[in-house]
Structure formats: C-alpha cells, structure tokens
Symmetry: C2
Subunit: 201 residues, 2 copies
C-alpha cells in the first residue's frame, strides 16, 4: 500500500535528500512535500543551483580553494601578504578564517586530514602540491591551521616533517578558552592547553 501512495518522482527526491548528511527519511519527506506545495520555482531554482555547482566551479590551481575563476580571487589579490601561508583542511575552514577578518595572507586547502581509520593517506590530500609550492615559493611563515582534532594534529605533525627541509618557520593556532565561553564548561584537555599556554597580563 505504501508504494501505491507515493509516486516514483516523489520517492526519488526523498531518496536523494536522504543521502545528504544530517537529513533522515522524515526530514527528506518534509523537504520534498514542502517543495511540492511551494509551487515549483523553488525546486527548479535549487535544481539549477545544483547543476551550476559543478559546472561553474573548479579548484584553484594554486591554493585548491573552490573558485569560479582561475586562479581564485584570493590568489589574484595583490593586496594580500604573499609571504604568509595558512594551511587548512577544508574550504569551510578558509571561509571561517576570512570571516574572522584577522588574516590576509595566502591559503592552501588540503581537502581533508590524514585519517588511517577512514583510509585517507597523505597521497589523498593536496600535500605534494603544498610541499612543491613552499619549496618553490618565498614564504616567511606557514600557519598549520588544521583542526584541533586527532586527525588534524597528526596531519600538522606530518606536514611539519615534510616541510622541515624548506627551513620556513611553522606555527599553529593557539589553543585555549573560547571567547565568550565558560571556564566551568570547558573540557579538561582545552583547559590544560589554556594553562600551558598562559600569557602575561
């Protein structure tokens, strides 16, 4: 009876939505029926945007950020510091740094972190490209801004080894309390790092 009740294109869209992270079959059905009710333009707009996502974007050949132009606007931007390089795992990390408006150097996007459990090795990431870029480039400092996770920190350590020969100074982002956070709710490891990294006032 259930199959009778749901036309194939509706079921198909529910299935496709369900493949996205964080969207279960109930959310997928809700989204699908919302689109059905909402007239059609919304579904069509979303459809076109999805098509254009792959057609009109590529990876920048220098920093491997996602871009419409080649090279990307950040790599093109002559007002940015050319001697400072920040290595991040994902384009969203780059975006978070840009939003903070605290950095105006170059970027390098690895597209992941080394994770033996998930079968992701150095060769799956843009690490060879990074080593080549740093060796041939003229950088004063490389900020290894991988995530403060096991995978992120292992990746930073691996990069440190791989880039040691270049002699460029390497730094990492400070660990410590979140601004606006609460000491009481800060986890032990972060608190330990915040203590180790205490600064003079």
């Amino acid at each position: 009876m259930v199959n009778n009740a749901l036309p194939r294109p509706v079921q198909q869209l529910i299935n496709e939505f369900s493949r996205l992270p964080g969207i279960g079959s109930k959310s997928a059905a809700r989204l699908t029926f919302f689109l059905l009710r909402s007239g059609g333009q919304l579904a069509l707009d979303l459809s076109v945007a999805l098509q254009e996502l792959k057609e009109k974007t590529r990876f920048c050949s220098i920093c491997f950020n996602i871009t419409e132009e080649e090279p990307c606007l950040i790599c093109q931007d002559d007002t940015r510091d050319k001697r400072l390089l920040c290595v991040v795992e994902e384009p969203l990390d780059l975006l978070a740094l840009e939003r903070a408006r605290a950095y105006s150097g170059q970027y390098h996007v690895l597209h992941g972190a080394i994770s033996p459990i998930e079968g992701i090795g150095p060769e799956d990431l843009r690490i060879d490209e990074l080593v080549k870029r740093v060796s041939e480039g003229d950088f004063d400092e490389i900020i290894l801004a991988t995530n403060p996770t096991l995978e992120g920190e292992s990746t930073a350590l691996y990069l440190k080894r791989r880039l040691a020969d270049t002699g460029v100074r390497m730094t990492g982002l400070a660990r410590g309390l979140s601004v606006g956070g609460d000491l009481e709710y800060t986890d032990e490891i972060t608190l330990g790092r915040a203590l180790d990294g205490r600064v003079d006032l």
Copy 2:
C-alpha cells in the same frame, strides 16, 4: 573578504538550501560543501530529481493526492472500499495512514487546513471539490481525519457543516493515549480526551 572567498555558484546553492524549512545557513553551507566534495554525481542526481518532481507529478483529479498517473493508483484500485472516504490535510497524512495499513477506503486531500491567521480560507483548499464529490458520490461514511490541532479541528467542524446536507455519516479519529506512550508525560488535554472517550474492557 568573505565574498572573495566564496564563488557565486557555491553561495547560490547555499542560499537555495537556506530557503528550505529547517535548514539554516550553516547547515546549507555544510550540505553544499558535502556535495562539492562528493564528486558531482550526487548533486546531479538531486538536481534531476528536483526537476522531475514537478514535471512528472500532478494532483489526482479525484482525490488530489500527488500522483504520476491520472487518476492516482489508490483511486484506480478496485480492491479498495469505494463507499468509505477519508479526508486528510496533506499527502503526508495520507501516507501515514497507508503506512498504518489499517484503512483501505478512498481519500480526499485538502492541501491544508483553514487558518485565518495564515490567511487560508476554505476557498484555498479542495473543499468545493470534496462537497461535489460527496454529493455526487455514494459514500456510507466520511472520516474527517484532519490534524488534532486548532486549525485541523476547525476545518473538520467547517466540513461537517458543509457536508451536513449530504446526509452521509461523518466520523473523526479517536483521541487518546499514544500506544507505547506514558501516562505521566501525556498532556492534560489529551488525557482529558482519553478519559472522556474511555471504553469498556
């Protein structure tokens, strides 16, 4: 800086996802970057499914459920009781009833409930079609299965008045405790309705 960091097609897709209910800008960004990372087939599949949703589905001219065929498979099904009609607000409600496998009559989908606050009047729903269908049809019973909400119950009352002349018996779904639920956590109104509707054991 933020605008530089995000190519237009990526921002566009984030915007489109954000228009969906329950998806904020952070979830939208996460979905978009998931699709970017996942190769492209997923985004394309979703795009096609969205297009086909409107192209290949319509409302059944009899019950106004969403269907690929005309009339829909439920209206076509000769094994179902033709003298029993269940009125629901949305196709998802119909689906829930079908999943329960406890009903095998006909359906009528209103596509909403009367809601003065949201500016939805009887003329916005498939009510005239329902009245015509019941007047011209040969039904023994009409189950008014609108939602147990203020809007749903008002709609049921309105339908009862509009359909009074047809002389067909009208019923509503029982209110009471959820099976597998807990008396302690049942709200007062439901508990009151469960008491009022108590049955002999």
